[in-house]
Every structure is written in structure tokens, then in C-alpha cells.
Symmetry: C2
Subunit: 336 residues, 2 copies
């Protein structure tokens, strides 16, 4: 049994090798690993970078252990408009919890949240957001919270796209994740969103296991209860994984500088700067939301996912900028 | 070239499979994966646990992705007596830096440290330790600090064992790490020691890559300098990865409950409680330092690595307790 498993494993690896998505310069691979990417400079830049670091004969060859690629989540791997999915979760939680909290009626932010009035919540800026997150994301054990996220995701639908949130992921980026893993990369999420909100589904949706998800965190406490120890979530921000917080979290948690970083907003600027300043071949990519017909078009003036400074710096750093309208044959996976 | 690499890779995996260290119940494996472990209940408990979670026919079978084992470092994987290796590093750093800091002469802790007087440093308790760590571990970039650690380790010798610190690792535990990895586990360090102090050598010495090392951390800052971005270490504790901090860090960073936890002191108690309270087969192990002749004998009364409460709880939880004198044929690797 044991050796049969090993043979199957070896065959799988051989198969992966035969179909390896590295352009060898002699023509197209048997199966296109990036079918949702149009031919052109963006796709070429991705494929050339991967070929450069994976070809043992290349001066830019990098051993597999060091092939780390980091991805922002909101706006880079899945849709973040008209507002972050995690905020939609929080609003629905407020609504579900409100009957047990009559005192919330006197609080403008929580009353707005209970009424599903996003603008009312955002009217108070970050303070309003933080309040909504704290009352909805704390007070449970970590296991209970993971269950709440999974239950909500199974039912909730995107307000304008009408599909499950796990189907608002970008098909070309899902292909890119698999393509990089096929080339020996380990793919990580480094997101401003909550790590506990992403982990329950990151493996099924992106193929990214929980231990490769970095995000913002609230404080937790260890409690010995009668039926055993639990970890309880507390209404207190422990880490904001945004802007400079991203390279600092990469250093603290991964402990290596990534080879490649993928983002879409100024919140990803420091992560791209840190990644691409490393020695040897590095790759930075920004997803530019240019497609109002198929998704949303936004950049410098957007409150959610503003892309301004990072877009200005892209050319000087040699970062690749995805033009969604031009570069992607399709945006979302089939709505199953 | 490509397909040849794959064939070699496949052969390596097949070879690994043939020599797989899982006891199949039909006799000893071709090569003993744990040669430094004496036969007896401790070794049997380890082997039985690994067989149970890796045998697809076992009711306790666990998929590879969930096979996570966490190890304390000081006193579990390497020697922590007569004081932590990281403190030896800090003292040597104080001595090296002292000529540039005449003001330290007036500080009892730093003056003691500069004179190599450990007891003088410890006389002020945790405060003294923290002061010595802050002046020696902050003020550099992360890259510079990694270089300082590597340079020091290449030269420094253990005060009583007379060997390089990287040769004060426990040979039986190094074998155990490799044995678990051979059985599909990923091995992590979860240590009260500094993560930046361990990462420069954890891969070479333990086979544990930087991204699987969790430890205490000081604060860091992202700085854009003229020649590019750097991460600077600040004299401020960001996370103390000890006691309850261990399961909380496991939850925050790994995001899964480990299957097995290995420690040696009360600082590991919460990590063992959290790990072994999970559903299905779990394994907890404590290294009990019983061997004054070959290493050091200490437990309930020791200031470094006190093992008291955790020893009391071991039986009730079914944790395995290593008796170093009885269970290990050898303690250290050859002193090369």
C-alpha cells in the first residue's frame, strides 16, 4: 500500500513535470495554464519571470524553497466593490445580533449597520468600521467564529453581481496561483482583511492553506474551561496588516523576502517596494480595475482600494500593471 | 533537462518511500530512523502515534496537510543550561559594543553584562534580561541582525560543553524531527526565544525553514532609505511567545491546531494543553532532563526551564515523558 502510494505520487509529479507551465521557448505548452489571460505584454512578463527563476541554466535561477509569492486579497484575488466582503459579513452579523442588543438602537453606527445602511456606517470613517467589526468579530471562540464565516458564505450573495462571494474571485488570478505553485512557488495571502475571516475558505477557493494566510488580527485569550481549553476572540485590534504593516508581517511571519508580490492598491505599495528591492529577479504586479462592464472601474479617486501612489511608482520600479479589460478574457469563474 | 530533473525527483521520492520510517507492524524498517532512542515505552509511544495517524486504514488517519508538529526550542531541541544561548549571544554583544557606550559603566545590569557576569544581569530579574536584550537586539536592520547571529554562532562555544552551540542540539530530537517529516508532518518551532535569533540557522541545523519558526519578537519599522527599503529593529517587545502566548501564536500564525507538541518546561504547558485537547489522535511529549552526567539534571527547582506543573499534568493528559538518561543512547551529535 505504502509503495503504491509512492508510485502514484511519483507519477503525479512526473505528470506535473510533463505539463509544467514553463515556456521553454519552443512553442506553447500542451495545456495552457493561463487560459483566461490574453496574449500580450502582461502575460509575457509573468511567463518570462517564472521561466527565469525556474530554469536551472538561468542566471536568475532560484531554489524552490525561496520561491515565495505574496498576494493581497481584496481587489487582487476577489472583488472588493461596492464594499469589502468582510463588511457585508459584519453588517449581516449586526442584523442577526441586533434583537439581543436593544442598546444598539441608540448608537448611530450600529443602528445604521442593523438597517444595512453602509453609508451610515462609513459616515463615521474608520471609527465606525472598527466598531462594527469589534461587536461582530469578537466574543466567540476561534472555532465558533470559523463556523459563523462558513455558514454566512454558504448563503450570502454579492449585492450587484448576485453570486456567492466565493465566486467573485478572479478566474485569471486563480489560474495564476496554480501556475506559480506548479512552478514550485508557495503562494501566500497578505491581506488587510481579517486572517480569521479568510482561513475557513482560502484552501478550497484558492488552494492556499491556513498557515499561508496572513491578515489583520484581533486580540485573543487562552481560557481553560471545564470541557477544555479554548481561544477566545477579544474586541481589540492586535495587528493591522496594511501598508507598511504588510512587509513587516512578511518579515515577522515568513522570515524571507518574497520573489513576487501582487496587489491592487496603495495599501500594497510597501509590500511591492520591499519585495522588488530584493537582490536577483523579483516581480511586482498591480491589478488595475479598468473594466466597468464586467466588474468595476476604479483607481485614484476610490475610497475602497484606492490605487494612486502605487500606480505612479509602477513604471519606475518596472512593475507589471494588469489592465483588466485588455488582459483578461474573463473576470469571474462560472457561477455554479 | 526538465524531465530528467523530474525523474530524479521522482526517484528521490520513491527512495524516501522505500525507507519510510513508519513501523508497519511486520518488523523493523530497513534503516532505523531513531537510532539514538532506546527501545522502551517512550519510543514505542512515538512510533505508535505516527503509525496511527499515517496508516490510511487506521481510524485515526490524518491527511498530510493536517500533520503539524510543534517543538519548543530551548531545552527541547537544544541545551538551555547553564543559561539560554541567546543570553550568551547578548552578553557577548554587550562586551563588543561597550567601548562605544561609556555610559553603560554606570548601569549595574549593563556593566555586569559587559563583564560577562550572568548573575549580575539576572540579579535584576526579567527587567535586567530585557534591558540586555533590547540594547543588543535592536538598532540594526533585520538583514544586519541575521549576519550578527551567524557570525557569532560560527565562533562562540558553550561555556561548559566546549562545543559550538549548533552542536548542543539533541541528536535524538533531530532524528525525531526527520522521522516526523518522513511521515508527512511539517515540523514547526514555537519558542520563547527570539524568532530572528533562530531563523538564520534553523534550516541547516534542524531542517526547519524560516517560515516554520515562531518565536518572541521585538517591534520593527519599515524605512525607505536612499538605497532602498529596510526593516529596522526597535527596542520594544512586540510579542512574548511563552506560556499562553504559544497556543495564541499557533492560532494566529499557523491557524490549525497541531497534532503533536513537544516541550520541556512549564512555558510549554499551555501549548501541550491546546494541542492534545483537539479531536482525534494527539500527542504531547515532555523532555525531562534527568541526565547530570551527559547533560544537566533539572526540573521543579530550576530557574531556567522549570518543569513543575506540566510534569504534574502529564499523567492525567497521557503525555509521554522522556527520561533522558533512560531513553536516549546519546545526547549530542558528534562534535565536529
Amino acid at each position: 500500500m505504502k509503495s503504491r502510494t509512492m508510485v502514484i505520487l511519483a507519477l503525479l509529479i512526473l505528470t506535473a513535470g510533463c505539463g509544467a507551465p514553463v515556456d521553454d521557448g519552443r512553442g506553447a505548452a500542451a495545456a495552457d495554464p493561463l487560459p483566461s489571460w490574453n496574449a500580450g505584454p502582461t502575460r509575457d512578463a509573468i511567463v518570462a519571470f517564472v521561466a527565469r527563476v525556474t530554469d536551472p541554466a538561468s542566471s536568475g535561477f532560484v531554489p524552490e524553497a525561496e520561491r515565495i509569492a505574496v498576494f493581497d486579497n481584496d481587489g487582487t484575488l476577489w472583488c472588493e466593490q461596492p464594499f469589502y466582503t468582510q463588511l457585508a459579513f459584519a453588517l449581516d452579523r449586526v442584523r442577526a445580533m441586533a434583537p439581543d442588543h436593544p442598546e444598539w438602537a441608540g448608537d448611530p453606527v450600529l443602528a445604521a449597520a442593523a438597517a444595512g445602511d453602509v453609508n451610515g456606517v462609513l459616515a463615521e470613517g474608520e471609527k465606525g468600521l472598527l466598531k462594527v467589526v469589534m461587536v461582530t468579530h469578537a466574543g466567540t471562540t476561534t472555532d465558533e467564529f470559523a463556523g459563523l464565516v462558513s455558514t454566512w458564505l454558504a448563503e450570502a450573495r454579492h449585492p450587484t453581481l448576485g453570486r456567492a462571494y466565493t465566486r467573485t474571485v478572479y478566474q485569471p488570478m486563480v489560474e495564476l496561483l496554480a501556475y506559480l505553485r506548479g512552478a514550485g512557488f508557495r503562494t501566500w495571502i497578505v491581506s488587510g482583511g481579517g486572517v480569521a475571516f479568510m482561513r475557513p475558505w482560502s484552501e478550497a477557493v484558492y488552494g492556499i492553506p491556513p498557515e499561508q494566510v496572513i491578515g489583520s488580527r484581533i486580540a485573543t485569550a487562552f481560557e481553560l474551561r471545564e470541557d477544555g481549553p479554548v481561544i477566545v476572540r477579544k474586541p481589540e485590534l492586535a495587528y493591522l496588516d496594511d501598508k507598511e504593516g504588510k512587509p513587516l508581517a512578511i518579515d515577522a511571519i515568513i522570515g524571507r523576502r518574497p520573489l513576487a508580490a501582487f496587489g491592487n492598491s496603495d495599501g500594497d505599495l510597501a509590500m511591492l517596494q520591499w519585495t522588488t528591492a530584493g537582490a536577483g529577479p523579483r516581480f511586482g504586479l498591480l491589478v488595475h480595475h479598468t473594466d466597468a462592464a464586467r466588474e468595476f472601474a476604479y483607481d485614484r479617486a476610490s475610497h475602497v482600494g484606492r490605487l494612486d501612489k502605487a500606480l505612479d511608482e509602477a513604471a519606475a520600479h518596472g512593475w507589471t500593471v494588469v489592465d483588466m479589460q485588455r488582459d483578461w478574457t474573463t473576470v469571474f469563474p462560472p457561477d455554479s
